[in-house]
């Protein structure tokens, strides 16, 4: 360790020479690594948003209960009050016909004018019940059996869909991680091998002078680390810009998707990309270094 710091300046200047010797192909490798890590970050951001959505939907599990036609507003309110006290129910509320229409108006936005085509309000009053996810089944059954309730609808379909989507994203994330790992690993170890090959004479001389493998190899490991981390930094930058753009775009068009706070998401993705590139750079170069050993002469 002491000799590592003593030789630090030497290692850095060697690292620069290694990188410079093959500058063009090293730049291409860095850009390739950056692109791969960028795609990786994208998928991870998607599955991060999805997981959060699922968590929120789970928490916010909600069912709607519709009344029989002859039920009066007063009776409906009584049903709401009763439901509210059931086990597993967080809250229950009566949504009037007018409120139901207003809500739809909001969702439709600019197209809300089609609602004007109806002379009578086409919506009916219903009971909105927010429940704990794990008591979904039980509550639904209880409410279904109540006198005056015609049918019950849950949001499980939406939840299922989001969950499926997130599941797919997660699998994609996993595959992506494997692909990223594998590809970056190959790129980096190849880069290091190339550097070692180009410097084989120098490496051989160092061995003849008795230099330990660590001394010979450290500049290559630093070079590999540096190049992957630069790739990672480029990818992080790209992702951050994209997320900022996407957030300001989505706020206009999809206001009801509960996105995680922007800085939290970018922080998480950047940390992920940087640590992944660090690990890959380190192990990729170590792997590439193993070719130092079997190049024959100099022993």
């Amino acid at each position: 360790m002491k000799s590592f710091f003593r030789n630090f300046g030497y290692y850095l200047s060697e690292t620069w020479k290694i990188i410079r010797l093959n500058l063009a192909s090293n730049i291409v490798s860095v850009l390739g690594t950056a692109l791969i890590l960028f795609l990786f970050g994208l998928v991870m951001a998607g599955s991060g948003i999805g997981s959060r959505l699922v968590a929120m939907l789970n928490e916010e599990a909600e069912i709607s209960a519709y009344f029989d036609e002859e039920v009066t507003v007063k009776e409906a309110q009584a049903l709401v009050d009763y439901t509210e006290k059931l086990d597993g129910v967080r809250s229950a509320r009566l949504v009037s016909e007018e409120e139901a229409r207003d809500r739809m108006k909001e969702i439709l936005g600019e197209e809300a004018s089609i609602l004007e085509l109806f002379e009578d309000n086409p919506f009916e009053a219903y009971m909105e019940i927010r429940i704990y996810m794990d008591s979904m089944e039980a509550v639904m059954k209880r409410v279904q059996d109540l006198e005056g309730i015609s049918y019950v609808r849950d949001n499980r379909e939406v939840l299922d869909q989001v969950e499926r989507l997130t599941g797919a994203l997660r699998i994609m994330g996993l595959l992506m991680t494997l692909a990223v790992g594998f590809t970056t690993f190959i790129i980096i170890s190849h880069m290091i091998r190339q550097g070692i090959y180009n410097n084989r004479e120098q490496i051989n001389t160092l061995r003849l002078l008795g230099a330990p493998n660590g001394f010979i190899g450290i500049p290559y490991v630093i070079a590999g680390l540096l190049l992957t981390i630069v790739g990672g930094a480029l990818a992080s930058l790209g992702i951050s810009v994209l997320i900022v753009k996407a957030y300001s775009g989505m706020q206009g068009t999809l206001p009801f998707i509960p996105l995680p706070p922007r800085t939290e998401l970018t922080g998480y993705i950047n940390l992920l990309i940087i640590s992944v590139s660090f690990l890959l750079g380190f192990f990729g170069s170590l792997f590439g270094l193993s070719s130092i050993r079997n190049d024959g002469s100099g022993r």
């Binding site: 001389t205 003849l208 002469s297």
Partner: protein
């Protein structure tokens, strides 16, 4: 320091480079190795620093047996050796000073000492004014002297100099011989191959090895 018992070296292509080598070299010894080109001088030095292994017989250098499977020990042994290669083996793209310093960077020396030792060695071989030149811009004679500076700057226990005066004019050659021999005072074994017999001194205590076709004739006097 170097002990060889019935050592032979046969290359992959069956060339029998050295036969039945028996010798014992002690700290502070001065050893001249002469013989025509292709007789086996370089091969003998290669054995001493573990670039080649004996095909048969036993060779130990500073307690390290030179044989297959001893890579780590041989690598360590080389740190105690100051090698001057016939073809120099300088590191291209680096300055003269950087080349000499690189030979010391992994010996546990302090930066300041490395710098001083390198500068001193370069002054002694008469290249104090070339410290910042790139080695590829040097003449053969200059490059040879850089190789010598790199070998001696690290204060080795054994100097293995393969035709160290091959590219030098007479004055420079005499100077280099004097520098190499001066290391005997610090108990370094100095081993020099040359086919320039006129440069060989008449030291009474030197060891003279004559190689012909892989056969050694050893004399304690010229």
């Amino acid at each position: 320091m170097i002990e060889a018992r019935q050592v032979t070296l046969q290359y992959q292509d069956d060339t029998l480079a050295l036969q039945d080598v028996n010798l014992s070299i002690k700290p502070g010894d001065l050893v001249y190795i002469t013989g025509p080109s292709g007789s086996g001088k370089t091969s003998l030095l290669k054995l001493f620093m573990g670039i080649e292994y004996p095909t048969s017989g036993i060779l130990t250098v500073m307690g390290q047996t030179v044989k297959k499977g001893e890579t780590a020990g041989i690598r360590r042994l080389r740190r105690s050796i100051g090698p001057v290669f016939q073809e120099f083996k300088l590191i291209k793209g680096r300055t003269v000073m950087e080349n000499v310093m690189t030979g010391m960077r992994f010996l546990g020396m302090r930066k300041k000492d490395i710098r001083e030792a390198a500068a001193y060695a370069l002054d002694r071989v008469g290249l104090g004014h070339k410290k910042t030149s790139l080695v590829e811009n040097l003449s053969w004679g200059e490059a040879q002297r850089v190789a010598i500076a790199r070998a001696v700057a690290r204060k080795p226990s054994i100097i293995l100099a393969d035709e160290p005066t091959g590219n030098l004019d007479h004055d420079n050659a005499v100077n280099i011989m004097e520098i190499l021999k001066s290391f005997r005072d610090s108990n370094t074994a100095v081993i020099i191959t040359t086919h320039a017999t006129h440069l060989i001194g008449q030291e009474a205590d030197a060891m003279y090895i004559r190689i012909d076709n892989g056969h050694l004739t050893i004399n304690r006097r010229a």
